[in-house]
Amino acid sequence: MSVVEFRNVSKHFGDLKVLDEVDLEIQRQEVVVLVGPSGSGKSTLLRCINGLEEITGGDLIVNGISVRGGHARLREIRQQAGMVFQQFNLFPQFTALENVAFGPRQVLGMSRAESNARAIELLEKVGLADKANNAPSALSGGQQQRVAIARALAIRPKVMLFDEPTSALDPELKQEVLNVMRQLAEEGMTMIVVTHEMSFARSVGTRLIFMEHGKIAVDGDPREVINSPPNDRMKDFLRHVQ
């Protein structure tokens, strides 16, 4: 069974068609890199998966559950799909530890001790156990994003969604985040990543999707399609991001 399945999915914002009858199946352990010019619909595609954007046509199945099944089902989907945002979106009133422990406690119903233990374990994984008691404002952008990854992992998702996770970071801070993502991929996590990091796509991605005008224009092996882009628009796009 595929982890994520788009069936003829469309998304309109008023008259604007952002996703145009998209069909897409993503299997376990795939690392799908989504690229495309701005406005091509890649972020929207990602945000439809956990229902942050409501689809307006077709159907979208995540781990056997339709996003159109109502609030309760949508919450189940969200517990199986961890999300990492461009702007980190850590809860500023909590410490790093509390940010990570929040999901397990509030969503999975773990006890304080259990959720804190889980949070420490995950902060260790992203190399930030020593910052457990820091407020997000006392962390660098790269550190904040790693905490955000730990927070998303804390609810034991089946698939991780990354929405331009390094776009808000200085070049020297991008690498620490990309390293954590690479490690996740190596552990077999299914990942869907919107990014402009072509080196990441090439070395970690198992599949590359190029989007244009709300449609999937190219879908193939990252190394192959980056080395020899199958159409001029993608060639053009790659020239700009590389």
Partner: protein
């Protein structure tokens, strides 16, 4: 000019009794106002078309009319319309509740909307129900931003109780007026009344500043 500050001493108990009533109306009125305002503000921020329209209409009617007209309406017009007599004290408290409620609703709405959408999305993406996102994430953050404007409204409402002189509630201003009518000591009495208001609003400011400090406003 004959000013005798010492005469104030004789009237201190009477003025303090007035101040007590002022505080009573203010505290009860503000508790109600905060409840009404929070509900109306959340209706504005999160409600659908219908709830939003109700809250919007309430806020616009109250903000668009003077509080003195509102209390007169409650005290004199409502009995005619609905055939129920409302004691002056109740009318005074009710007037603060609905008046402060309208302004607090806008304060609540503003604070809630000032919390970035990204934080709500981060909460929702974890699988939290919407109400938990409001109570655990947006609420506590919005509350910190709400304190300064809410403090303003508390002080305004406390002073607004002086207008209830028109329905004969024996609060501080009314008490001063009554004393003055008997002895014509305008300078002494109105000075004493003003100082009592300053003490009350000053204490309120101090409490608010303490809360603000403890909460380290974000």
């Amino acid at each position: 000019m004959d000013v005798q500050w010492s005469i104030i001493i004789d009237f201190i108990p009477q003025l303090l009794a007035g101040a007590q009533i002022t505080l009573y109306i203010t505290v009860l009125g503000l508790i109600g106002g905060i409840i009404v305002g929070t509900i109306a503000g959340l209706m504005r921020a999160y409600g659908g078309l219908f709830l939003n329209a109700i809250a919007f209409t309430y806020i616009e009617i109250i903000r668009g009319t003077p509080i003195i007209v509102q209390v007169m309406f409650i005290y004199f017009a409502l009995p005619v319309l609905a055939d129920l007599r409302i004691p002056g004290m109740t009318a005074a408290i009710l007037a603060i509740v609905i008046n402060a409620g309208a302004y607090i609703a806008e304060i609540v709405r503003g604070s809630v909307l000032s919390i970035g959408r990204g934080l709500s999305e981060a909460g929702l993406a974890l699988g939290l129900p919407r109400w938990k996102v409001i109570t655990h994430i947006v609420g506590p953050l919005a509350f910190r931003r709400l304190i300064p404007p809410l403090g303003n409204q508390c002080i305004v409402s406390l002073k607004d109780t002086s207008l209830f002189i028109v329905i004969g509630v024996g609060e501080l201003t009314r008490t001063g007026q009554e004393i003055m009518a008997a002895n014509f000591r305008a300078v002494e009495i109105w000075t004493a009344v003003a100082i009592l208001y300053l003490i009350m609003t000053g204490t309120l400011s101090l409490i608010l500043r303490m809360i603000e400090k403890r909460m380290r406003i974000l």
